[in-house]
């Protein structure tokens, strides 16, 4: 749980700073528009830290959004971030906080008061329920407290209450709800290592839920009265939660009128949750640096509608387009990129949201690597300020550069480094350095003529290689055989090294042991 609070020290760490100019444009308003809720503030803070030149604008935007939330501590966090930037070299000349925004003290006080009141109310409720030992109510009280703490920015407490509610879950639906809440919290906190275990828990719950409801619906028409009890119970619990849809539909099912529409609705709900789980898992792969897994997972996602309320609240479709594309270009082979990305109609709907990603993919498929790298550099601010992507941007860019080099060289037998440099827009030294690294890493099968600055593909004489290999294997095998034979003989004769302490005992057992050892 302590890991949930990692972000505490992040502002103190020195972060790279990016300037916005003609080559690196960035439209803050367009960027922030699709988001709602807390993530807006998180993203704006990232921008304040990374791009001092637009920090005042970001600060203003943040204050506009702050009032829609109920976490007064965010005011200080945002101002703190801004003041940090003011203190740095790049922040010189920016207007002070007071010139940009004014803190609405009244609002802060009022919200704080309201929060305290609500907290007391919820805690009293929890206490009462705990005394009465009503399991379902205790669960709901924990859940409400978790929601409350999450909205007021006390993530540790929120997680504590969410996980506490686990003990009082009585149906798979409850477990699922709990997992989804924790996952949302984990995404907000960018706690990627925490994610997979809850995804698996949620998947388990989802599975049993689907099976359970399928069985129940099958039984329902014949014996509506018997199935009423558990189904009704589920509904009672679930209808009050955010995933009330399922509860409602199962109510309809238990009523005996198992209509086609309710069944399809149930399956859509299932798809929604499934897609959300896939998304969060993909995000955790990205967060932990498993780019190939992340790429595959992002490219498999269902359509954006299925992410439901997460769109905007946690993520924008354009984010998914960027994450998925960058990971795919960096880690997947060209054929997979074509099959999974270019020919993928569902992912195309994500790409639509971010036109430059389409250009990026097209340039990549056309082997126009200079454009690929240009687009990457042009949009570097977008990538470097993204709360989920920023840490991985340098690594992903490096990987894409490597892929570009490897793909560029692939059709050639010899290439002048100069020409490569031209095609990729780098200096010759840079190309040579990268190429040498790739050769040593085994990615490029070739050798560099460092005098003539030429990269030459390695010609392998497969026949000779085969012969050499076979001869080597033969002699190795012969040696191995001989050594094993000796070993076997030694064991048969019981000439094995013995522990001096147990020698006497083992001596009596003699050959039996020797044979036994040879089996091991």
């Amino acid at each position: 749980m302590a890991t949930m609070e990692v972000d505490e020290q992040q502002p103190s760490r020195r972060r790279p700073v990016f300037t916005i100019d003609d080559d690196h444009p960035f439209d803050l308003d367009a960027y922030i528009a699709p988001y709602t809720g807390r993530t807006v503030i998180d993203r704006l803070i990232a921008i304040i830290v990374h791009c001092p030149s637009i920090a005042p604008h970001a600060l203003t935007l943040a204050f506009q959004h702050l009032h829609r939330l109920r976490d007064p501590s965010l005011v200080n966090t945002v101002i703190g971030a801004y003041e940090n930037v003011l203190g740095t070299q790049e922040g010189k000349g920016l207007p002070p906080v007071a010139d940009v925004v004014s803190v609405d003290v009244e609002w802060v006080e009022e919200v704080t008061k309201r929060n305290v009141a609500e907290r007391t109310k919820l805690e009293v409720e929890l206490k009462t329920y705990t005394n009465n030992m009503i399991k379902e109510s205790i669960r709901m009280a924990h859940r409400d407290l978790g929601d409350f703490f999450r909205s007021t920015g006390e993530f540790g407490l929120a997680l504590k209450h969410y996980t506490k509610s686990r003990e009082f879950c009585s149906t798979s639906q409850h477990i699922l709800d709990m997992c989804m809440s924790v996952l949302e919290l984990a995404i907000e906190q960018r706690n990627y290592t925490h994610i997979p275990s809850y995804v698996y828990k949620a998947e388990g719950a989802l599975e049993s839920l689907t099976i359970g409801s399928a069985v129940a619906s099958a039984v329902a028409p014949s014996s509506a009265s018997t199935s009423q009890v558990p189904q009704g119970f589920t509904a009672a619990g679930a209808s009050t939660t955010s995933g009330g849809g399922i509860g409602a539909s199962s109510m309809a099912g238990s009523a005996g009128g198992l209509s086609q529409s309710s069944q399809s609705r149930k399956s859509t709900d299932r798809d929604h949750i499934q897609t959300k789980l896939e998304f969060v898992l993909a995000l955790s792969h990205l967060g932990t640096g498993a780019y190939d897994k992340a790429a595959t997972a992002f490219l498999k996602l269902g359509p954006p509608e299925q992410l439901g309320d997460w769109i905007g609240k946690l993520v924008a479709p354009s984010d998914i387009a960027i994450y998925g594309t960058l990971c795919a270009l960096a880690s997947l082979p060209r054929s997979s990129v074509k099959a999974q990305l270019v020919d993928n109609p569902i992912f195309a709907t994500y790409i639509e949201q971010e036109p430059y990603v389409r250009e990026l993919v097209q340039a990549y498929m056309a082997s126009d690597f200079k454009t690929v790298l240009d687009i990457l550099s042009r949009n570097s601010i977008r990538h470097n300020t993204d709360i989920h992507l920023s840490l991985h941007t340098p690594e992903l860019t490096k990987l894409i550069r490597h892929v570009s080099l490897v793909l560029y060289f692939m059709p050639f037998e010899t290439v002048r480094l100069e020409r490569m440099a031209e095609a990729l827009g780098w200096s010759v030294e840079e190309v040579e350095r990268e190429v040498v690294g790739l050769i040593q890493g085994g990615r490029i099968i070739g050798r560099v003529d460092s005098r003539g600055k030429v990269l030459v593909a390695k010609k392998t004489d497969h026949r000779a290689e085969l012969f050499a290999r076979a001869m080597k294997m033969a002699s190795e095998m012969e040696k191995t055989n001989r050594k094993l034979l000796l070993r076997m003989r030694l064991q048969q004769a019981d000439l094995v090294v013995k522990d001096p302490k147990t020698t006497r005992r083992e001596h009596d057992r003699g050959l039996e042991i020797a044979l036994g050892d040879s089996m091991v």
Binding site: S450, R451, A474, N481
Partner: protein
């Protein structure tokens, strides 16, 4: 950790009777050797307990009627004369051996065997080396070990070693071991260990039934070759790998095997024949055992260094290596050395400087230095895979040698020893090229031939194994557990056996090598 290991045998423990003057150094008589001696001493305790001052006492009659050929009068009277008579009149070597082993209580027996005839005549002069090999063997070995006995002249020993009849000597393998140890001991006392080499070599060559048999003479011989730095003498013997163990012709212990292969590795390493050295050290380090022996750890250290010298990297140990061995190795400074090899030369030097005393105490400093010296070569080898041409200065920078002329000499040397294929032009540019593959039809035929030989050998061994009593007993026993009904037909049983054989007994064949 280390106390669980048998002590490193400086000298191999022999199954010598306890009262003999110990030829082994004091360190050798700790843990392992003592228990082996105790376990393998064949003399009945009652005999040992007899007072040595009673030469006239009736000898314990041999347990069986094993010596019926002995003249009746001699039986009751122990004197060298009678022994000589017995030797000269005996017709059956096994019976003679039995007699010589049992004609008197042990200490008495050795003293008698080592004594002179009444007129001060040397019994060896009477006996014929060819006809009385067994008798002479007893006398010689006793003479070499009884402290007060007159030493047999060296040229007589040499004569005996190169002319004795091996078939006779094989009836008394323990005496052969004694003789070998005695020769070495005598040479050591004279301060001329090299003198022992030739007789030992002759003894070894004549005694072992084939070059692939391991005998107790092997480790002693290999050890004196190492001690006296007469490395090349051992080569003809080391050239035949050991594949056969026959306890009937040699009373071997596990230490004989370990010491022989360890010393063999040392010899090859001293001659810079790294491939063979690697094999010998590997056999020693990977010999079977319930616990790893200290000598195996030493062998492993040297094995790893030899691999670094030979390949520039270590290769994984066979799967059957004792797991504790690699764990023990990881705790030594050698492990750090291996990890830093070959690119981090400064780190390597730091290790060598810091652990120098340890390395020189463990007698590995030579190998360490050799490996260190060769480190840049491996780095250069790696460059040839990346570059076609490279300037000397670039190479120097990549390898960590500042002086360009040093790099030049190094490259020259590597080209000459055909470690790399390259051309060096006047302006200091090195052009690397692929080494040409050269295989003739004859090479391929040779490899194929030896592979077929191996196949036949393995097939024969498998058949032998499938026929062996131990194996059948085991297979049938395993079967009894599976089959619950009585009178199961025979045919399925045989099927079972073959399945079992492939599945379990021969699982080693899958484990190894084919990966």
């Amino acid at each position: 950790m280390s106390e669980s290991l048998p002590s490193p045998p400086e000298q191999p423990p022999r199954a010598m009777e306890p009262e003999e003057p110990s030829s082994t150094s004091p360190t050798a008589s700790t843990s392992a050797s003592v228990s082996i001696v105790a376990a393998e001493a064949t003399t009945p305790a009652a005999v040992v307990a007899l007072p040595p001052t009673a030469p006239g006492a009736p000898p314990p009659s041999p347990s069986t009627g094993a010596v019926p050929l002995m003249p009746v009068g001699i039986d009751n009277d122990i004197s060298l004369m009678n022994v000589i008579t017995a030797i000269t009149t005996a017709t059956s070597p096994p019976h003679l051996s039995q007699y010589l082993k049992n004609f008197a209580p042990k200490e008495v027996r050795e003293v008698v065997l080592a004594s002179m005839l009444p007129e001060g005549q040397d019994p060896l002069a009477i006996l014929d080396i060819q006809a009385n090999t067994l008798g002479i063997l007893y006398i010689l070995s006793a003479r070499l070990h009884v402290p007060s006995a007159p030493r047999p002249p060296l040229n007589y020993i040499e004569d005996f070693c190169s002319n004795f009849v091996a078939e006779q000597a094989r009836f008394a393998p323990d005496r052969v071991t004694l003789l070998a140890a005695g020769i070495v001991q005598a040479a050591e006392q004279e301060g001329n260990l090299r003198a022992a080499i030739l007789p030992m070599q002759a003894l070894l060559l004549r005694y072992s039934p084939s070059p692939s048999h391991l005998t107790t003479i092997h480790p002693i011989f290999a050890r004196i070759c190492v001690s006296s730095r007469a490395f090349t003498v051992a080569l003809p013997i080391l050239a035949h790998p050991i594949t056969t163990i026959d306890l009937a012709i040699s009373d071997l212990t596990y230490n004989d095997n370990l010491v022989y292969h360890y010393a063999g590795g040392m010899i090859y390493a001293a001659l810079r024949r790294w491939a063979e050295a690697e094999e010998y050290f590997e056999i020693c380090a990977c010999s079977p055992g319930a616990v790893p022996a200290a000598i195996q750890l030493e062998a492993l250290k040297k094995l790893v260094l030899v691999q670094l010298i030979r390949e520039g990297k270590t290769s994984p140990l066979p799967k059957y290596t004792h797991p504790n061995l690699s764990r023990l190795f990881k705790n030594t400074p050698y492990s750090a050395f291996v990890n830093a090899y070959p690119h981090h030369r400064s780190q390597l030097r730091t290790i060598v400087e810091a652990e120098g005393p340890l390395f020189s105490a463990e007698k590995t400093l030579g190998l360490i230095n050799e490996a260190l010296e060769r480190a840049p070569r491996w780095s250069i080898r790696k460059l040839t895979a990346t570059y076609l041409t490279l300037h000397l200065s670039d190479i120097g920078r990549a390898v960590g040698i500042e002086n360009e002329s040093h790099v030049r000499t190094l490259i020259f040397d590597m080209i000459q020893s055909s470690e790399i294929c390259a051309r060096l032009s006047a302006d200091g540019t090195v052009s690397f090229s692929d080494p040409p593959f050269q295989f003739g039809k004859a090479d391929v035929d040779k490899v194929l031939g030896s592979a077929q030989e191996q196949c036949t050998l393995l097939a024969r061994l498998e058949r032998e194994m499938a026929r062996s009593k131990e194996y059948l007993a085991k297979a049938v026993k395993g079967k009894d557990d599976n089959v619950s009904w009585p009178g199961a037909p025979t045919a399925p049983m045989e099927e079972d056996i073959s399945v079992d054989r492939v599945g379990s007994n021969f699982s080693w064949a899958e484990d190894v090598g084919f990966v």
